[in-house]
C-alpha cells in the first residue's frame, strides 16, 4: 500500500482542462486521448485521488456543460429515468423517488456529506466502480439499467453486469454513462436500505444492504426478493442464493435467519471480515423484517 512519496502535500498535478459541450465531444476526446483522459462531473472522487497522487490524468474533461443530462423523470408504466449528471442530493430530495423508490433516496442521502452530495453525481457514483458506493445496492435490487453512449453506438446494460473488479467497470474507454433507468415498482412491494458505518455516524459504509421484496400479506408468501450488498465484496453484489431461498416461500423468522445467513456467506470482505459477515447477517435480517412490515401495513 505504497503512497506516492509526495502524496502528502495534497497538491494537484498539472493537467489540460477541456470542457465538453456535447456527448459527441467528450466521447471523441476520450477516444483520442486513450487512457490519458478522465471525465470530471462532481469531482469529489477524482480530485481526491489526484491530490493523493493516485491518479495523474493528462486531460480532464468537464462534462457538466452537456445539456439534458440532469433530470429525474417518472412515468407510470415506464418507470424512472435519471440523467447521469443528477446530483446525489437531488435524488435524495426528489419527491417522486422518495415516494416510489424510497430506498434509493435514503441510500443517496447517506453518501458523504451535504456538500459532497451537492457536487457528486449519480453517474460519477456508479462510474467510480468502488465496492462501497451506497447507491449501488439499491440500484441492483431495483434492477436498474444503464445507458452507455459512445461515438459508434449506444447500449443498455443491466447494472448487474457493470461491476467487474474494484474500481473497474464495464465502461469502455471512450464511453459515457448518460442515463439510469429503473422499472416501476412492482405492486405489493417495499424496499429499504440498511447500513452500518465504519466508526462515526457519518463515516463510510462498512456494510450496506438493500432489499426489495414483493409479497402477499394475505398468504404471507414472498413472491420475489432481491438483496443487494455493498462494502462486503470486491464489487457491490446481489446475494442470489439467499434470494432464491425465500422466493415463493412463506415468510417466517427462521427462514429469514437462514436467508440472512446465506447472504452473509455470499460476502468476501477484505478487512474486518468476521464483523462484516456477521453484520451482513444482522442487516439483511433487519431489512427483510422491515420491508415485510411495510408491505403488511400498505392498504391495497
Amino acid at each position: 500500500m505504497a503512497t506516492p512519496s509526495l502524496g502528502y502535500l495534497l497538491t494537484l498535478p498539472k493537467f489540460d482542462y477541456l470542457e465538453a459541450k456535447t456527448i459527441e465531444e467528450v466521447c471523441s476526446w476520450l477516444a483520442e486521448y486513450k487512457g490519458k483522459a478522465k471525465v470530471i462531473a462532481g469531482g469529489t472522487d477524482l480530485l481526491v485521488s489526484m491530490k493523493k497522487r493516485e491518479l495523474s490524468p493528462q486531460y480532464i474533461i468537464n462534462i457538466k456543460a452537456i445539456p439534458d443530462l440532469d433530470y429525474i423523470h417518472y412515468a407510470d408504466g415506464e418507470g424512472l429515468s435519471i440523467g447521469a449528471l443528477t446530483t446525489l442530493q437531488s435524488i435524495a430530495d426528489s419527491p417522486i423517488i422518495k415516494d416510489k423508490f424510497r430506498l434509493l433516496a435514503t441510500a443517496c442521502n447517506k453518501v458523504g456529506t451535504p456538500q459532497v452530495r451537492n457536487m457528486g453525481t449519480i453517474g460519477g457514483n456508479i462510474g467510480n466502480g468502488g465496492p462501497s458506493q451506497d447507491a449501488i445496492p439499491s440500484l441492483l435490487v431495483l434492477e436498474a439499467k444503464l445507458r452507455l453512449v459512445s461515438l459508434s453506438r449506444e447500449r443498455i446494460m443491466p447494472i448487474q453486469d457493470f461491476f467487474i473488479a474494484p474500481f473497474r467497470t464495464a465502461l469502455n474507454e471512450a464511453e459515457l454513462l448518460t442515463e439510469i433507468r429503473i422499472p416501476p415498482p412492482p405492486p405489493h412491494s417495499a424496499g429499504s436500505y440498511h447500513w452500518l458505518t465504519k466508526t462515526t455516524t457519518d463515516d463510510e459504509t462498512l456494510v450496506g444492504v438493500a432489499v426489495l421484496m414483493t409479497a402477499d400479506s394475505a398468504s404471507g408468501l414472498c413472491q420475489d426478493i432481491k438483496i443487494g450488498l455493498c462494502s462486503v465484496a470486491p464489487t457491490p453484489i446481489r446475494a442470489k442464493q439467499a434470494e432464491e431461498l425465500l422466493q415463493g416461500k412463506r415468510i417466517e423468522t427462521s427462514l429469514i435467519e437462514q436467508v440472512a445467513e446465506l447472504a452473509a456467506e455470499a460476502t468476501s470482505p477484505r478487512s474486518r471480515a468476521d464483523y462484516r459477515r456477521q453484520m451482513t447477517r444482522v442487516l439483511v435480517k433487519r431489512a427483510i423484517n422491515e420491508v415485510w412490515q411495510k408491505i403488511k401495513q400498505t392498504i391495497t
Binding site: M1, T3, S5, L6, G7, Y8, L9, L10, T11, L196, K198, T199, T200, T201, D202, D203, E204, R272, D274, Y275, Q278, M279, V282
Partner: protein
C-alpha cells in the same frame, strides 16, 4: 457568594465578531510583500541512512529561491525535554539518518506553492533502508534495531539556560530506552500484604491525533533590523521565542511573535516544530518572508500524537474497598524521538496523586524509542491514559467485592486540606461533593445494573493549575486611558479557550469597568510581558492572577489619586461604572478620565500604569523531579467527575452514548459559558477517544492520516450533555478560579469505558472500544 459585575457572568466572547465574519486573521491568512512559500520533503522510510542528497535540480528550477538540507542546519537540536539528564534529540532536518516515516529531510522556498511542490519532486535522496522496530516491547530486547546512538549535547541544554546549575551530559541509549520514571512512597509490598484483595490488569492506549481544525503554519520574516518576526499557530510565544533564538543563534530579544488568531491546539502546538524553524531559516537565507502551511496529512504524520502507553496496574484493597497499595508500571512509546516522554510518565502519576488517598504507591515508567511518529502532550497529557487504566480496574475491584463503584470512590477520594506526598496541599477539592451531585443528578443507583443493554459508568480526573516550566511566570500590564477605558497587555494566546475574554473580564471587574471598556493587546511578544502560556493549565490560575494583580495595582493608584481629589479616606472609596465614589457620600464622585488627567497634570505626567505578575508555585524555582516525583508541583488542582450513560446494540455491538454528565470543580468560573464550553468540548473529545479514534500504523506508516480515515465525532454522534458545577473557591486563584481546560477529557474517557463494560458485563482493556472488541469480550465472558 460575592456578587460580581463582570466576572462570573456568561458574557459573549470579545473575538466573536471577527471570527463569525471571517475577518479574523490566522497565520495562514497573512500575506507579506515578496512572500515565498515553503514546503518540506519527508522521509518515506521508517529507518534509513541518508547516503546522499542531490538538490541541484531543485535549485535550478525557476522560481525556487532556496533549498536546504541537514548539512545547512547541522548540529542544532531541540526538543520539548532538554535537560542535563535528557539532552534534546530532535533535528529540524535529518542529518545522517531518518528515524520515522514523515521525518523532515529537506525544505524549499519558492515563489508559489506549485513551484515549491515541484522542486521537492526534483530533490534526489539516496536512502539505505535499515531494519526498523515498531513495537516498544520488541525495541526493549537485546539485538533490536537501535533507533538512536548516544546523544551528545552540542550546546548547553535548555534547563541550563533557564538557570539550573548542572551541565548537560551525553545520554547513552540502552535498549532504546529514552527516559525512565520511578516514584514511590510508603511500602507497597507491605500494603499488598495488608490488603484483603489484590487485582492486576494490563491496559493499552494507542496514539491519537489532536485534529485542531487549523493545520500547523508558520510565517517568518527577518526584517531590515535583523529581527525575526513570526506568525504562528501556537500555545506560548515564550517557548517558541526561546527555541527559535537558540536554534537560529540569535538573541531572544530579536525574536518577535506577532498576534495571530489560532484555530485550536489541544496540546498539539506547544514546542518548536521543524517547519517553524525552517520557515525562519529559509527567510534568513532568502531575505524574504517565508510561509509554510502543512497539509492535513503532514499534520497527522509529523505534528505529534498523544502518547501510546501500555499500563500495568496492581491494586490492593481492604474488603470494604479502602485502597491500601497500588503499583503502576507503564511502557511509553513516544516514537522515534523522546517528545515529552519523561513528562507524560511523571504526569501519569501526578495527575492521579490528588484523587485517591493511596498510602503505599509505586509508579514506574520506561519510555522506549520506536521508528514511529513522535508523541507529545494532548489535553490531559498522561491523565487520559492513566485514568482509563486505574478507573477501569477500580470498577472491576468494586464488582468483585460487591461494592457500588460510586461508593468505592467516595471511600477513597481526597478532601480539601489533604497534603499530597509531594507536599502539594488541596486548598480546594470538590471530589466528594461532585460524586454526590452526579450520583443524584443521574439517578445512578436506579440505573446501575439496570440491564437491557444499557450501562452507566463513572470516571474521576484531576489536573494541575500550572507548574514550573519556562518562562516560569506571567506578567500583565494595565494602562488607564484618558477616556476612561483601560488597555490590558497579556501574553496569553487565545486558541479558542476564551483567554482573551476571561483576562479582559478580570481586568474589568477589578477596575469597575465593563468588558467593552477593556482594550486588549494580547499574544504579541514585543508588546506584552512574559507569559507562562496556555499549555500548562495555567491560563486562569497564573496569567489570570497576574492580570488581577496588574488591575489591582492600577486600581490602587486610581484610589490614591481619587482620595486626594475627593478629600476622602481610601477605605471609604469604591469603584463602579468607570467612576470612583465616596461610599459614605455617594454624590461625591470623580470619573476615571478626570483622575487620569489629574494624575498626568498634577503628578509629573503619571498616566497610571499597573503591573502584576504571578508564578505557578511561589515557593519553588524549578520543576519537581520528573524521575522521582519529589517536590512541590502545583498550587491548585481542578477536578472532574464524569458519568456516562450508554446503550449497546446487542447484535451490532454499536455503542450509543446517551448522556454525559460532568461535575467539575474548577473553582470560581470567570466566564461560566466558556467553562461549560470547555467541558462540552471534552465530553465529545473523550467520546472520540473511547469509540472512534486511533492512529493506525503498518510497518511504521500511518495508514489513516486524513479525516476520511481518522474519524472525530461529528454532530450526529453527540450525546446529551449536562454540566453540574461544584461550588468551590480556590483561595489562591483569581476570584477563586483554577484549571478547567484539560481535566475532564480523562474523566469522560474512563466514564464511557466503564459504562460500556457495565452494559455488556465484560471488560475491555484497550482503546478504542470497537464493536469487534465488544463482541470478542462477550464471547469470552464466562470463560
Amino acid at each position: 457568594m460575592k456578587e460580581y459585575s463582570v466576572v462570573g457572568k456568561p458574557l459573549t466572547r470579545v473575538d466573536g465578531r471577527v471570527k463569525v465574519t471571517g475577518q479574523a486573521q490566522y497565520a495562514g491568512d497573512i500575506t507579506l510583500p515578496n512572500m515565498l512559500y515553503g514546503k518540506i520533503l519527508r522521509s518515506p522510510h521508517p529507518h534509513a541512512k541518508i547516503v546522499n542528497i542531490d538538490t541541484s535540480q531543485a535549485e535550478a528550477l525557476p522560481g525556487v529561491k532556496a533549498v536546504v538540507t541537514g548539512r545547512d542546519t547541522g548540529g542544532i537540536r531541540f526538543g520539548f525535554v532538554d535537560t542535563p539528564r535528557y539532552p534534546a534529540d530532535e533535528y529540524p532536518l535529518a542529518i545522517d539518518k531518518v528515524r520515522y516515516i514523515g521525518e523532515e529531510v529537506a525544505a524549499v522556498a519558492a515563489i508559489d506553492e506549485i513551484t515549491a511542490a515541484e522542486a521537492l519532486s526534483l530533490i534526489e535522496v539516496d536512502y539505505e533502508p535499515m531494519p526498523a522496530v515498531f513495537d516498544p516491547e520488541e525495541a526493549l530486547k537485546d539485538g533490536a534495531p537501535k533507533v538512536h546512538e548516544e546523544i551528545v549535547p552540542t550546546t548547553t541544554c535548555a534547563w541550563q539556560d533557564w538557570g539550573v546549575a548542572r551541565d548537560a551530559r551525553p545520554y547513552k541509549v540502552v535498549n532504546n530506552i529514552c527516559a525512565t520514571v520511578s516514584i514511590s512512597y510508603g511500602d507497597s509490598e507491605q500494603g499488598f500484604k495488608e490488603s484483603d484483595y489484590v487485582r492486576e490488569d494490563r491496559f493499552i492506549i494507542p496514539a491519537t491525533s489532536h485534529t485542531a481544525m487549523e493545520p500547523h503554519v508558520a510565517l517568518a520574516n527577518f526584517d531590515s533590523s535583523d529581527k525575526l518576526n513570526v506568525w504562528l499557530s501556537h500555545m506560548s510565544y515564550e517557548v517558541k521565542r526561546y527555541w527559535l533564538a537558540k536554534t537560529l543563534g540569535i538573541p531572544i530579544s530579536k525574536v518577535r511573535v506577532h498576534k495571530a488568531f489560532i484555530g485550536g491546539a489541544f496540546g498539539g502546538k506547544i514546542n518548536l516544530f521543524p517547519y517553524e524553524f525552517l520557515a525562519a531559516f529559509l527567510s534568513r537565507k532568502t531575505g524574504q518572508p517565508v510561509r509554510i502551511v502543512l497539509s492535513r496529512e503532514e499534520v497527522f504524520t509529523s505534528c505529534r500524537l498523544s502518547h501510546r502507553m501500555i499500563i500495568n496496574v496492581k491494586t490492593g484493597v481492604k474488603s470494604g474497598g479502602t485502597i491500601m497499595a497500588q503499583e503502576v508500571n507503564l511502557i511509553n512509546d513516544p516514537g522515534a524521538y523522546r517528545g515529552s516522554s519523561p513528562v507524560v510518565m511523571f504526569l501519569a502519576h501526578s495527575f492521579c496523586n490528588p484523587i485517591y488517598n493511596i498510602p503505599n504507591l509505586k509508579h514506574k515508567g520506561i519510555g522506549v524509542y520506536t521508528n514511529k511518529a513522535i508523541c507529545m502532550p494532548k489535553r490531559g497529557h498522561g491523565s487520559p491514559q492513566a485514568r482509563f487504566a486505574i478507573e477501569s480496574q477500580l470498577d472491576m475491584i468494586a464488582e468483585d467485592l460487591g461494592i457500588d463503584p460510586a461508593e468505592i470512590r467516595l471511600k477513597n477520594v481526597r478532601k480539601t486540606g489533604d497534603v499530597l506526598p509531594n507536599g502539594d496541599r488541596l486548598d480546594s477539592c470538590g471530589l466528594g461533593m461532585g460524586i454526590w451531585r452526579v450520583v443524584e443528578a443521574t439517578k445512578w443507583k436506579q440505573k446501575r445494573g439496570k440491564g437491557n443493554n444499557q450501562g452507566i459508568g463513572m470516571g474521576l480526573a484531576a489536573m494541575f493549575s500550572g507548574a514550573a516550566y519556562y518562562p516560569f511566570g506571567s506578567g500583565a500590564i494595565v494602562k488607564l486611558n484618558a477616556d476612561g477605558t483601560a488597555t490590558l497587555f497579556t501574553g496569553q494566546a487565545e486558541f479558542g479557550q476564551g483567554s482573551d475574554t476571561a483576562m479582559s473580564q478580570i481586568a474589568a471587574e477589578v477596575l469597575g469597568l465593563t468588558l467593552a471598556d477593556i482594550v486588549l493587546v494580547s499574544a504579541d511578544s514585543e508588546l506584552c510581558p512574559i507569559d507562562i502560556g496556555g499549555f500548562v493549565s495555567a491560563g486562569i490560575f497564573v496569567s489570570g492572577e497576574a492580570v488581577r494583580r496588574a488591575a489591582a495595582d492600577a486600581r490602587q493608584q486610581l484610589l490614591d489619586n481619587a482620595a486626594e481629589a475627593l478629600g476622602a479616606k481610601i477605605d471609604d472609596l469604591d469603584i463602579a461604572n468607570g467612576r470612583i465614589y465616596v461610599k459614605s457620600n455617594p454624590e461625591k464622585t470623580v470619573s476615571f478620565s478626570q483622575i487620569v488627567r489629574d494624575s498626568i497634570q498634577k503628578h509629573n505626567g503619571d498616566s497610571i500604569i499597573g503591573k502584576g505578575f504571578c508564578k505557578p508555585v511561589p515557593e519553588i524555582e524549578f520543576y519537581p523531579s520528573l524521575s522521582k516525583g519529589t517536590g512541590r508541583f502545583t498550587d491548585a488542582y481542578g477536578f472532574a467527575i464524569a458519568v456516562a450513560e450508554v446503550e449497546v446494540d446487542p447484535e451490532t455491538a454499536r455503542v450509543k452514548v446517551i448522556r454525559i454528565t460532568i461535575a467539575d470543580d474548577s473553582g470560581f468560573s470567570i466566564n461560566p459559558v466558556n467553562v461549560q464550553g470547555q467541558l462540552e468540548s471534552q465530553a465529545v473529545m473523550g467520546m472520540g477517544d473511547v469509540l472512534f479514534e486511533e492512529i493506525v500504523t503498518d510497518e511504521g506508516r500511518i495508514i489513516n492520516p486524513s479525516f476520511a480515515d481518522y474519524k472525530i465525532p461529528g454532530v450526529c454522534d453527540i450525546a446529551e450533555f449536562r454540566h453540574i458545577p461544584v461550588d468551590s473557591i480556590e483561595p489562591k486563584g483569581p476570584f477563586g478560579g483554577k484549571e478547567v481546560g484539560e481535566c475532564s477529557r480523562a474523566a469522560v474517557i474512563a466514564a464511557i469505558a466503564n459504562a460500556i463494560c457495565n452494559a455488556i458485563g465484560a471488560r475491555i482493556y484497550s482503546l478504542p472500544i470497537t464493536p469487534e472488541k465488544i463482541l470478542e469480550a462477550l464471547k469470552n465472558k464466562g470463560k
